[in-house]
Amino acid sequence: MEWEPVIGLEIHAQLATRTKIFSGASTAYGAEPNTQACAVDLGLPGVLPVLNEQAVRFAVRLGLALDAEVAGRSVFARKNYFYPDLPKGYQISQYELPVVGTGHLDIDLEDGTTKRIGVTRAHLEEDAGKSLHEGFEAMTGIDLNRAGTPLLEIVSEPDLRSAKEAVAYMKKLHSLVRYLGICDGNMQEGSFRCDANVSVRPKGESGFGTRAELKNLNSFRFVERAINHEIERQIELIEDGGEVVQETRLYDADKNETRSMRTKEEANDYRYFPDPDLLPLEVTRSLIEEIRGELPELPDAKKARFEADYGLPAYDAGVLTASRELADYYEATVTAADGEAKLAANWVMGELSGALNKAGLDITDSPVSAADLGGLLCRINDETISGKIAKDVFEAMWNGEGDADTVIESKGLKQVTDTGAIEAMVDEAIAANPTQLEQYRAGKTKLLGFFVGQVMKASGGKANPQQVNEILRRKLDG
């Protein structure tokens, strides 16, 4: 039988607010344990939560970007359960009335088509602290620095049909939250985390199979692997006559397997009820419009503009708009390169991205600025250097040897375009290789390349290749 996977994702994006969602403590990552937890985060008696307005604005931004309904009135609820890193014994979240309602996100599939994925809701909540099981003999350490960090939980419809689609959705959302400036997207630090609900059904059926929830998927690669593994597990189970049980499974990246954490029967009764310490959250039309006015150009619009304004192929436009920083870099490069859009695209996606990847650097940390890269492209464009020499210049620029003009000057890499000089080198090459000349003239014309190589070598790569070709052909054929 042919099976169809059905996947929905719950993504937790940590909002990039300076302070926590219900207290004034800092959200900065990496501080000494428990140094960024105030009385409210510690859940001391008598203290009360006060909502961080910035977190609300960030949630509204996402709502608008997903073309979703932003609720005029939403409600914070308490999700009650005991755990040592949950100081109050309840998590403040949104349950029945979330701040962001139904919306959607379009993803690009590998076959070049676009698929619309429904977003069910997005709600604000606070993060818990961390339990540290290592380094404490027979005890558990509790770090409450993370307690109260604002999260936006974004829940998709079960519209995804493969692990690849799930990853494409997750990447698109990752790009979007970073465009919006609402989340730093740092997956190592847990700023962008994913749980996946996975089920399978016979292809063609419209009902859903029983789902399992996969937890702890903290990289794109793990999402793909864990989902694929879970799909296989479920299919095998059903084909062997078994039944999928509704449960929560934890993904173990080391073993590339999922294992059961708890079944539906063991699930907590969270006893949700509206938090009486917080008034219902009111978001006015005028606030929504104010925030709409502050929205940056979003990835889809930017991609369309790159295709139209720069004449880029869809693929290039997609790559270059994957992050706001890369897109900004690209546009700055084009400007500095006097509008050489395609050349700039090739260099940003090729040489620069390659070097960044190799060095493990972000575009924002590039040692070569967009202005300098643009400067280099100008020198290619005005034929001061060839494309090949440009790669050497780029390397020197990467190593901090100055901008393109400085490197070209100091290394004497200026292209030779003096026809007389080139002719002399051509004559020399022909004279030095009589055998090849004979063969060429006997019809083995692909030896042209050999002669071009000889001339370029003699010029130290600096001769204008077009002129070399031209003159060689004239002299060889002559």
Partner: protein
């Protein structure tokens, strides 16, 4: 000195009749002498009080005195006090010292009040007799065999016995008004949101409200003026100007429409209480008030609604007492589950555990709609009763409690009978309205309180009516003989 009102104390301090150091020393001496009998204080902060009194004297000498500068006060042990234990009447917090002051404590500090100590209370404010305290029951100064009421029983007893001129209390279902009534003092539960809940250990967040307890409406006006006001740390605190409550105390009440709810004078009301209230009504009529009857038809639902909502919120509010970060922790836990169950099992008393269980049940999947959600719907009906009544009257008047103070131990084993002693006060919390209790006589030798219920933020009018009543009567000046 201990017979003076707050206004008189402030005047005496200003004239130099006595210093705050002397006044504070006098009250501390009275506490030493009498509190062995009453048990109204959990902590007495003698040294800090004397130091603050000296600072208050210095402030007054510099001409910077406010209305409460140098006036002693006691705080219910539910208000967090920086550096001083806040037990909430529970073994769970017997070792808890907050690193912050409650907003109410801050405000009264700023106004110059001198804290004498922290008063006894029912554990986590859950009780109507002060018998659930980990620190033992409090005796009623009028009859030491009787309870002082609860949960602010320590505050009420201390004020009644002249161990402090004033105290703070909290009122979730009557916990200021009922003990005020039973101890023959005045107590005000403000409108929900009028006084910040920051730093007040939560029992039921949508019902809790702090307020003043003192001997007269006039004193309450001074205290409320200092306590009330917006606090950005409490999202339910209301941004609204605080009126000068003293300015309108003496206003004429001729033509004031006072409504008597038939439901507050029915079955279960003690005849002696009824007689005292009837007499009080006559006194107000003599002052020119128009007395009419009103109806609050859903009154009988207040007890069941309250005993779903308050425990539900409490079950969640008290989850933080888990033995992990502060408070009581059991000896040698054998794992997490054991740490939780024994810390909570040993740290909480029976009444608290009962309410946590009731509340947990009411919020559970499958029961939520039938209990919590239904209770919230009925709560709106109760509030609507008052809204309708206030279309016809300015103030609603009735008894505070159906009986005067009962004996210690009399109802301790019968939670339902105990819960019924708040039958006239619970609805006010459910609706979020202000309620005032003033002494109105005696029944069987024990004090009886009259309750005045106002519309939202109408505290000034309640205090005005209470003050006019106290100008016409002298119940509030009576002191229990053994503590005169």
């Amino acid at each position: 000195m201990h017979e003076y009102s707050i206004t008189e104390l402030a005047a005496g301090l200003e004239r130099g009749d006595f210093t705050s150091r002397e006044l504070t020393g006098h009250y501390l001496e009275r506490i030493r002498r009498h509190d062995g009998t009453l048990n109204s204080f959990i902590s007495v902060t003698e040294e800090a009080a004397l130091a603050r009194a000296e600072a208050a004297d210095a402030r007054r000498a510099r001409g910077e005195a406010g209305p409460l500068t140098g006036v002693p006060i006691a705080h219910k042990d539910i208000f967090c006090t920086d550096g001083v234990r806040t037990s909430c009447g529970s073994r769970m917090l017997d070792n808890f010292i907050a690193p912050y002051d409650a907003h109410v404590v801050e405000r009264l500090d700023e106004a110059g009040a001198v804290m004498l100590g922290k008063t006894n209370m029912d554990e986590f404010a859950m009780g109507s007799s002060n018998e659930t305290s980990f620190y033992g029951p409090v005796s009623n100064p009028w009859d030491t065999a009787a309870v002082p009421g609860g949960s602010s029983g320590g505050s009420a007893a201390a004020v009644a016995a002249r161990l402090t001129p004033a105290a703070t209390g909290t009122d979730t279902g009557g916990s200021i008004r009922q003990p005020a009534s039973m101890c023959g003092i005045s107590g005000l539960k403000p409108t929900y949101g009028r006084v910040s809940r920051y730093g007040m250990v939560a029992f039921a967040s949508s019902l809790d409200q702090g307020g003043p307890m003192a001997r007269s409406a006039e004193d309450l006006a001074v205290l409320l003026g200092a306590m009330a006001g917006f606090d950005h740390r409490d999202s339910t605190s209301v941004q609204r100007e605080v009126p000068d409550y003293r300015a309108t105390l003496g206003d004429d009440i001729r033509g004031l429409r006072i409504g008597l709810p038939a439901e507050y004078f029915g079955e279960g009301l003690d005849a002696g209480v009824r007689a005292a209230i009837d007499e009080a009504v006559a006194a107000l009529r003599a002052e020119g008030a128009e007395i009419t009857e009103v109806s609050l038809p859903n009154t009988h639902l207040a007890v069941p609604v309250y005993y779903v909502i308050a425990p539900a919120e409490a079950s969640s509010n008290l989850s933080r007492f888990d033995g992990v970060r502060f408070g009581y922790r059991c000896e040698d836990p054998r794992g997490l589950e054991d740490l939780y169950t024994r810390s909570r099992g040993e740290g909480f008393g029976d009444e608290v555990k009962r309410r946590i269980m009731v509340g947990t049940y009411a919020l559970s999947a499958g029961y939520y709609d039938a209990y919590y959600l239904k209770a919230q719907q009925v709560r709106r009906m109760i509030r609507d009763d008052f809204t309708r009544a206030f279309e016809d009257v300015d103030v609603i008047l009735g008894p505070v409690a159906p009986t005067p103070a009962f004996d210690i131990g009399e109802k301790a084993d019968d939670p339902v009978q105990m819960y019924l002693s708040d039958i006239y006060t619970l609805a006010v919390n459910l609706a979020g309205l202000p309620g005032l209790s003033v002494p109105a006589g005696f029944a069987n030798g024990r004090p009886v309180g009259m309750q005045l219920i106002g519309n939202y933020f109408d505290e000034a009018r309640l205090l005005n009516v209470g003050h006019r009543f106290q100008q016409a009567t002298d119940w509030h000046t009576r002191a229990p003989g053994d503590f005169a």
